[in-house]
């Protein structure tokens, strides 16, 4: 057990790794009533192609299987998992994203029983033909719900324009067809490949006694047998540098057109700290060039081309990265033209003048992070998977240099790697 106290933030992080490889991270929060636990599995919607740890065979899974597996683990032979938590006064939930599946609960009493419940239901799979069939109906409704969401629709259209090979182009829940094809056997294969303790992290936040909690988990895990598999090898097909499509258009019943623009940022092998630092640098840069206080944003707002539905972010992962700008506009073609114009010709003086202030904003948002348990857990695991503890972010932000922003500003907005996704009103 290792305990790290951060004096500036007045926060402590306790870390432990069990013999079976399970990582435990605890943020003790004195005087808080809420208790929060998240069991995060390093298995997301991107992990559909891998070498089976049992027999070395290559597996190609139906799209949306990680999300389906998340739903299916809530099935038990007798009692509803939700009810088990409800009996303890805790409320359970889960979500799947591109790179992880996360099971969680929040409680204000009976934390230890709820925690054991969480570990038990994730570590005891039960997939039957009947249950799998039933879950398909629910997930198809979930997919249909997202198909009516114009932002979601145009976001995935954008990703499919950016990427021709990388699985991030696929909807997290899969398609109606892929979901209907999923079998209990598929689920068991994914389960024994990815749901190993060594492929999981447990994040706990609340007024907790870390030593006691770690002992409790250790005792629970010692009673279980896990096969000594190594973590599976994932296959991500090589992604060409160029984009798949320049433009995707679609029509929906919406109030006005929606525009999404992205710049693909081809990845190289980079150190974790470099990845995170670059993520911050480009986001700072975007804030200076197109954030709420920027000249560009306010000019285009004044001209009625964009409004506060506009936003921009840089997404950076080890295996993919892109700049993402989006908003609604009644002048979609002007919006597209103006954004392109502004981004290919960035004024270096503007970066220098605004750099310190925007950096401050990021320092403030780092402090805020510790207010909200759910947010803290999600961000913590995001950085942890890259090999960085969240406290280290403060120094990463502090050490960002103006020159680095300027250097990226000339490179990252490459017209040839730009894609657009537009949703227009139904006639």
């Amino acid at each position: 057990m290792e305990s790290i106290y951060n004096k500036n933030m007045d926060e402590t992080l306790v870390k432990a790794k069990l013999d079976n490889g399970l990582n435990i991270y605890i943020f003790p929060k004195k005087d808080y009533v809420k208790q929060y636990a998240m069991l995060s599995v390093d298995f997301g919607s991107n992990d559909i192609d891998f070498i089976d740890v049992k027999n070395g065979r290559r597996r190609n899974m139906p799209l949306g299987i990680a999300h389906f597996l998340e739903h299916q683990l809530f099935e038990d032979k007798e009692e509803s998992i939700f009810d088990k938590f409800a009996d303890l006064g805790a409320s359970a939930n889960a979500y799947t994203n591109f790179d992880s599946t996360n099971y969680l609960f929040s409680s204000s009493s009976n934390f230890e029983d709820s925690l054991i419940n969480l570990i038990e239901f994730v570590q005891e799979p039960y997939f039957s033909d009947e249950n799998v069939k039933k879950e398909k109906g629910i997930i198809v409704q979930e997919i249909k719900m997202y198909q009516d969401n114009p932002y979601w629709k145009s976001y995935f259209n954008l990703l499919s324009a950016l990427y021709s090979e990388h699985p991030v182009k696929n909807d997290i829940a899969g398609t109606e067809e892929s979901v209907m094809s999923i079998t209990p056997e598929d689920l068991y294969i994914c389960y024994y490949n990815f749901y190993l303790p060594s492929n999981m992290d447990l994040i706990l936040i609340g007024d907790l006694d870390p030593q006691r909690i770690i002992n409790l988990i250790r005792g629970n895990q010692a009673r279980k047998h896990f096969p000594h598999f190594k973590n599976p090898v994932r296959i991500i097909k090589e992604e060409p540098e160029k984009v798949a499509k320049k433009l995707v258009k679609e029509k929906m019943n919406i109030s006005r057109p929606m525009v999404q623009i992205a710049f693909k940022d081809p990845v190289k092998n980079e150190e974790p700290t470099q990845i995170i630092k670059k993520e911050y640098i480009v986001n700072l840069l975007l804030d200076i060039v197109f954030g709420r206080s920027s000249k560009n944003y306010n000019q285009l707002y004044d001209q009625g081309i964009i409004d506060n539905s506009f936003s921009c972010t840089y997404h950076k992962k080890p295996d993919y990265a892109y700049v993402h700008l989006h908003g609604e506009s009644n002048k979609p073609d002007q919006m597209r033209r103006k954004i392109k114009e502004k981004l290919v010709d960035i004024d270096h003086d503007e970066i220098s003048e605004n750099f310190q202030r925007i950096k401050r904003k990021y320092q403030g948002s780092f402090i805020r992070l510790f207010n909200n348990f759910n947010h803290l857990a999600a961000e913590f695991i995001n950085y942890r998977r890259l090999g960085i503890d969240i406290f280290e972010l403060a120094a990463i932000i502090e050490n960002i240099d103006l020159e680095e922003l300027i250097a990226y500003s000339d490179k990252i907005f490459n017209k040839d790697l730009m894609v657009e996704s537009i949703i227009l009103n139904e006639d």
Binding site: K34, Q141, Q147
Partner: protein
């Protein structure tokens, strides 16, 4: 367990202060309450904060405001339009990090509060009106905001159900008014209305966090917020009557049909059976252990979401679900069947206890969030029944099975709304 309570400063301001060092940030909120009268006033009330946020006397444009907020370590300033009962509530929120976590010395709280005050009370005036450009542009943006409801099919169904159900009541007015009345609003009229709000509307000031006593003691010297009545509701008409159920169908190209069913509960926060209603809502559709979730989703896989929610100033309950259109009769039947089962006392002791525990768990967690503490207090203040979260918990603990049965019996289904595809 420590109870975090708002304390009222007994003086000419309606200052409600919750002192705690639990959070990394400090929260300041200024509220104005306006009765829902008609669509035009509703639209004017919604428009005013957006025009104010474009620029003030000392911060002429939004770029200056946003720049200053970033200088203040990314302080957040925002305004919201809320509807509680038959009132619109304008909320101006300011949240900034607590100075003690900063490595550099800073007068953050005072500076940010001055900025907020400048925006609310010192608008940029041209020819004794708002700056014409800001007025025009924000009117156009409000129009877009109202129209964009259709982009979110969940809210679209909810609002369409409520506006039909309450078509003869003030509650039927959308919180941002309507597009058709925007043309009738002139800049002069809006500015006069703004002055009326500043001078006459009910108002309140909330502080949550670890403020220096010098700040709290001098707060009255640093704001132009005038004395006035606190934000108690005196307008809402609670309608509770027997009537035939109305059924509305709206056609639109959608992948998923949306069903919204509106009920009258006749129960508001002021009444003793408010706590029973909370437990009933949890039992019927408030969570994943609820009857509707279990029956409609888990057992029959008819939906991904099915849930109920309550409005406790007006006395409404709403059930929402996303389904295949051809199943809508089946789902309505199941909803009726589940409510009838609860009314007949056909629910287990476990279900009863889960429902209570679930509410208590959520209430306790509200103690850990400055915004939840403030939202809970706002509702109790509006309903003129100030109570702490622990007092609400005590009320929930005391609810019996019979109480839930009597709430289920009281429920009156009023309106069914179905949004489905044209084909």
């Amino acid at each position: 367990m420590n109870d975090l309570e708002f304390k009222n400063y007994q003086n000419r301001f309606n200052l409600h202060h919750l002192a705690t060092d639990k959070f990394k940030t400090n929260l300041i909120q200024i509220y104005f309450m306006l009765p829902l009268e008609n669509e035009k006033e509703a639209a004017m009330n919604a428009l005013i904060p957006s025009v104010l946020e474009r620029g003030s006397k000392n911060y002429n444009d939004n770029q200056l405001i946003k720049t200053e907020l970033e200088n203040l370590y990314g302080s957040n300033m925002s305004s919201n339009i809320l509807k509680r009962g038959e009132n619109q509530i304008l909320r101006f929120s300011l949240e900034m990090v607590n100075e003690k976590f900063l490595t550099h010395k800073s007068n953050l709280t005072v500076d940010a509060f001055n900025l907020l005050n400048d925006i609310i009370f010192n608008p940029l005036i041209e020819k004794s009106k708002f700056k014409e450009k800001y007025f025009k542009q924000e009117k156009e943006i409000l129009k877009q905001d109202i129209l964009s409801l259709i982009n979110d099919k969940y809210s679209f169904a909810v609002e369409n159900c409520l506006s039909r159900m309450c078509k003869n009541e003030k509650y039927g007015i959308y919180k941002m008014g309507s597009v058709s009345v925007l043309d009738q609003i002139s800049n002069q009229e809006l500015f006069n209305h703004y002055q009326k709000i500043i001078n006459q509307a009910k108002r309140s000031l909330f502080l949550v966090g670890n403020f220096k006593s010098s700040f709290v003691d001098n707060i009255f010297a640093n704001t132009e917020l005038k004395a006035g009545a606190d934000i108690f509701d005196e307008n809402t008409e609670v309608v509770y009557q027997d009537k035939e159920i109305d059924f509305y169908e709206q056609l639109l190209k959608v992948n998923q049909a949306r069903l919204s069913i509106g009920f009258r509960t006749g129960i508001t926060r002021k009444q003793p059976d408010y706590y029973s209603l909370l437990v009933f809502n949890s039992l019927i559709g408030g969570s994943t252990h609820s009857r509707l979730f279990q029956e409609i989703r888990e057992k029959r896989s008819l939906a991904y979401y099915v849930s109920s929610s309550i409005e406790t100033t007006k006395g409404l309950l709403l059930i929402n679900s996303g389904i295949n259109a051809e199943n809508h009769e089946k789902v309505i039947e199941l909803v009726k069947q589940e409510i009838a089962a609860v009314a007949a006392g056909d629910f287990s002791e476990e279900e009863f206890m889960r429902s209570k525990k679930s509410i208590i768990n959520h209430l306790k967690q509200d103690l850990d969030s400055n915004k939840s503490l403030s939202a809970h207090f706002l509702l109790s203040l509006v309903n003129n029944k100030k109570e702490s979260i622990n007092q609400t918990i005590n009320g929930v603990e005391a609810v019996s099975r019979e109480d839930i049965i009597s709430v289920a019996k009281k429920l009156k289904m009023d309106t069914i709304y179905l949004l489905k595809s044209e084909d």
